[in-house]
Structures are given as structure tokens and as C-alpha cells.
């Protein structure tokens, strides 16, 4: 099989390497640019004021991002609370409990969900979900709850398709062994299949979380965007991404820099979350 390295091979190798490096360099350029624009103003007004300040009034040079940091984390958590159980349950059903024909129909349908633009999710949320929450639970409707539900639905395709792949990758011999020992179908899933597929499932959840924390358009439309710590699930909330997108149109000078500082904080939060999640996945895998 192994052929001697030809000149053509080396050329292809080199060009692929260059392409890979250029993709990485784009990331590097973005990182450098965000930090270059965002760090000076954070240094000027103090990191503490940015991270713990509760007042976001750029026109008064008050740049507290705490409400947005809490908002992003809260909405992402809410999305996971809604999306993870639903996603894992659908994945388990489609791999372990449904026949080939049904799952062959369901999987493309769920993948289609991923193809719907986020502005459509936001629009539907604004038209149906927000009035529903306002009528039945009170408050303005534009709320943490609305954003969590919309995001929870938006991360479903990610979680489901990765979970399906992870569960399908568990060898059938595991299931056969478990059933041979007298376990029921559900016991097999719960005690054999899911633990074996754990690292894949966690990876799916991490990717879903990444989508939720980065989503902007749909959240702007249904979250209400009040730059205040939400007092309840029915209160409006602003996320870090919304803060940037909402105000970038007219921002100039320090206001603009403060939006880049928002980007810096978002960047760091995503890094930390990914790091923690990867750590958790590895630990569980070793068990």
C-alpha cells in the first residue's frame, strides 16, 4: 500500500498545510483584533468595573457588564435544561426504540431544524411564544424563559445528531451481552449504552452550549434586552452577544471600544466553558 513519496504528494501536503494554517491564522487575527480593540478601555476603567459593574450607560461612561454576563450564562443554562433532556431522549428513541424506517424519516427532519435561519426562530418566538408567556405567566413576555425555550429548540439538532452518532458507535456486542444477562431494553440503555457513549454525548452537549451562548439574532428578538440583572425567569434579559449586536450600529469612540471589551469577555467565557466541559468529558471517559 505504502508508495514512495513522490514530488506530487509533497506538493499536495504542503498546500494542504498552508490552507490549514490560513484557517488558523484567521482565528489568530480575529483574536488579536478583538483584544487590541477591547483591552485598552478595560485597562482604563478597570477590569473590576467591567466584570462586576451593574450599570450599563455608555453615554455616561459607565460600562458594567455584569447583567450581560449573568444574562448569557442564565440563558445558556436555560437552553441546556430544555434542550439536553429533549435531545438525549429523542436520540435514545431513534437509535434504540424505533425501527429503521421511522428513524430514517425522523433524522432528516431533525437535521432540517438546523437549517432554519435563526431569525426565523426569533420571529416565531416573537409572534407566538412571547404573547403566550405574557398571557399565561404575566410580565412582558420578552424574557429569560422565552429566550431559553427558543435556544433550547435551536440546539436540539446539534445535540440529537451527535448523540445518535455516539450511541450508534457503541458496539452491538455490549447490548447483546447486557440482554443475555437478563437486563431489559431500558436497563441496557441506561446502564450499558449511555455510559459507553458518554464522551460523545458530552461533546454534543458542549457543541449545543456553544451554539446557545453564541446565538444572537433570535435572542435579541425574544429576550427584551434590558441591561439589568433579571429578577425572575419572566424578566427581560440581555446577553453579551445581544449587547454587541444591539448597539454596534451607532456606537462610536469609547462606547464602541466597550462593545469590543464585551467581545473579549465573551471570548474568555467561551474558552473557560469549553475547557471545563472538555475536562469533564475526559474525566468521565477515564472512568
Amino acid at each position: 500500500m505504502a508508495r514512495p513519496k513522490s514530488g506530487g504528494d509533497r506538493l499536495i501536503r504542503l498546500s494542504l498545510l498552508l490552507i490549514a494554517l490560513s484557517a488558523i491564522s484567521v482565528l489568530a487575527i480575529i483574536t488579536i483584533f478583538i483584544f487590541e480593540q477591547g483591552l485598552p478601555i478595560m485597562a482604563k476603567y478597570g477590569l473590576k468595573n467591567f466584570l462586576l459593574g451593574q450599570d450599563w450607560f455608555p453615554s455616561e461612561k459607565s460600562f458594567g457588564l455584569l447583567p450581560m454576563i449573568v444574562g448569557s450564562l442564565l440563558v445558556t443554562l436555560g437552553a441546556l435544561v430544555i434542550g439536553v433532556p429533549l435531545g438525549l431522549a429523542s436520540a435514545i428513541f431513534m437509535t434504540e426504540f424505533s425501527n429503521r424506517r421511522l428513524s430514517g424519516f425522523l433524522k432528516p427532519v431533525i437535521e432540517l431544524l438546523a437549517g432554519i435561519p435563526s431569525v426565523v426562530y426569533g420571529f416565531l418566538g416573537l409572534m407566538f411564544l412571547v404573547p403566550f408567556i405574557r398571557k399565561n405567566f404575566g410580565g412582558p413576555g420578552l424574557s429569560v424563559l422565552a429566550a431559553s425555550i427558543i435556544l433550547g429548540i435551536m440546539i436540539l439538532p446539534t445535540i440529537i445528531s451527535i448523540a445518535i452518532d455516539a450511541i450508534r458507535a457503541v458496539p452491538d456486542s455490549y447490548r447483546e451481552g447486557s440482554i443475555a444477562l437478563g437486563a431489559t431494553r431500558w436497563q441496557t440503555v441506561r446502564m450499558v449504552v449511555l455510559p459507553a457513549a458518554r464522551s460523545g454525548l458530552v461533546a454534543g452537549i458542549i457543541l449545543g452550549m456553544g451554539r446557545a451562548i453564541g446565538e444572537t439574532m433570535a435572542v435579541i428578538m425574544v429576550a427584551g434586552n434590558a441591561a439589568d440583572l433579571p429578577g425572575s425567569l419572566l424578566a427581560p434579559v440581555r446577553t453579551l452577544t445581544s449587547n454587541i449586536a444591539l448597539e454596534m450600529a451607532y456606537a462610536s469612540g469609547e462606547h464602541r471600544q466597550a462593545l469590543f471589551a464585551t467581545g473579549v469577555i465573551l471570548f474568555v467565557i467561551i474558552m473557560i466553558l469549553n475547557f471545563l466541559a472538555n475536562l469533564a468529558a475526559k474525566k468521565q471517559f477515564r472512568k
Partner: protein, 315 residues
Amino acid sequence: MKPEPKRNLKKVQRVNNQSFFDKKLFSFFKDQQLIGSLNLTVWLWLLVFCFFAFSACRSHSVSSEIVVAGSTSIQPFADEWAELFMSKNNKVNINVQGGGSSAGIMAVKEGSANIGMSSRELKEDEKDLKEIIIAYDGLAIIVHPANPVNSLAIDQVQSIFAGEIANWKMLNGLDQNITVVVREEGSGTRGAFQEMVMGPRRISKKAIVEDSNGVVREIVSRDENSIGFISLGLVNDQVKPVALDGVKPTEEAIINNNYRLRRPFLFLSRQEPQGLAQEFIDFVLSEEIQARLSQEGLIPAKKITVINSLSPGET
């Protein structure tokens, strides 16, 4: 008389070149086999080339261009005026950009725009620009049509948006919490509202923030307990503008300056506008466009200037 033959020579050369090129092109196309062997990529490149050639031609046919930049409240109107102006004058291009009043003022100061658009009064340190009032716009405080509250005092509006009055019951309305909807920091409409209504007081942090007049109107039209502010020109029958201190926001009330929330739409230029910029400004101030303005909910500039000149002292 010396340069004359030279120029002729050049012309001849160019013609020669052209015909040479044509011949080559012709022979190229005559070779059927060659065409057949051209693959898709080559055709795509040809298409791209034609596209660039075409766009290059287009930009050559425009003889002069000006940039008009600033307030996004004026931008949709300016787009329309520019289109009308360009349809009447061939070979000119009016490039309308947004960015907000502050950005427009900055752009015209720096010279990156020929005309700046501002939907707020100039500050003291910006007064070195020449300002031309194009129109006036009223700011409407809007509520849901089903809301029984029809009129508010200006300090009540202030207290609502500051978050102190939180229930409609305190304003003789229903016993419902008020949903306050505002524009985002930096928007001209918010700036005008802050200046004319709030003064030094802060808009409540609990207020819902949206990034366009349209979305504010949409939310107020759907939530019976909400209140917001938008340009008077954008008020439709889905929302109800409230009267301020008993004065309804009508064109007449704004012209008489009885309705207090009005702001100018300004065109700005660094020096006395010249050439195309002057022509465009004249066009916008013409009877035709000013008549269109009042159909679109704005107040033509001339109506107010007349009244101001009748009663000096009023600004």
C-alpha cells in the same frame, strides 16, 4: 499645432490595437474545437471578467458623486430623495449612508461625507458646521390602542420611563404593570427622547430595549400594557399616540410648537455647499419633495420657518 499629429497617431494606434484584438478574438471563436474544449472553469472566469468589465463601465458613466451620511432616522427618506434625484439627473450618484447623527457630524467634519445628516440639534462644539433644516419630526409617545389612558403630563412620562411609576393604575388606567420599551444607547431617537423628556434623569434599566422604531411599534401594538416612543411619521393605527399635557401630536401642534417633542432633521456641510451637494439640497427643499414630506408624516421645514419669522423669540 505640433501636438495635433501626435494625438492622431495615438488614435490610429488604438484603432489598430482594437482591430487586432478583434481579429484574434474572432479567430478564437471561429475555432469550434477550441470552444468545445473550454471547460466550465474557463467560462466562469469569463463571466467574472465580464462582470468586472461591466461594473467598471458603470462607474465610468457616473460623472460626479456625493456622499450623504448620518442619522438613521433620516436615512430612509434620504434614500428616496436620492433615488428621485438620480432618476431626474443622469450621470450623478448620491451615496446615502447611515451610521447615526454623531457619525454623520463626524463624517462631514472630516470630509468623508459631503453632506451630514443629523436628527438632533448641534452641540456647541459642533456649531462650526453649516446647518440646513430639511424638515421637522415629532416624537410620539405610543401606547396600545386598548389602553384607556389618552393623555399624560410630561413629568408623568418622565417618571414612567425612569421606572418610578410602574403601574397604569397610578395614571387612571387599569391595574397592570407598565412595560416600558425604549431604543438602544446611541440611537438618535433615544438621544432626542433623553434630551427632550428625561433631561438629566436616567431611563430605567428595567426597560425593554429594541434596536429600531419598527420593533418598538410592533411590541407596543401587541402588548396592552406597554409604552414606547417612536418618530411621529411612523405612527400607524396599530398604536395610539398619547397627548402630552393635553396636546395631541398633530402636524399643526408641532408647527405651532404646542407639542413639545419635536426635533429638526438637519443637513450639514463644512462650508457653503457647492455643485452637486447644493443641487441636491435645493432639490430636497423644493416644493415637490417638501409636499411629499407631509404625506410621510414629517413636517416640511418651510412651514415652521415662516411661523418663526412671524414670531421672533420663538425657536
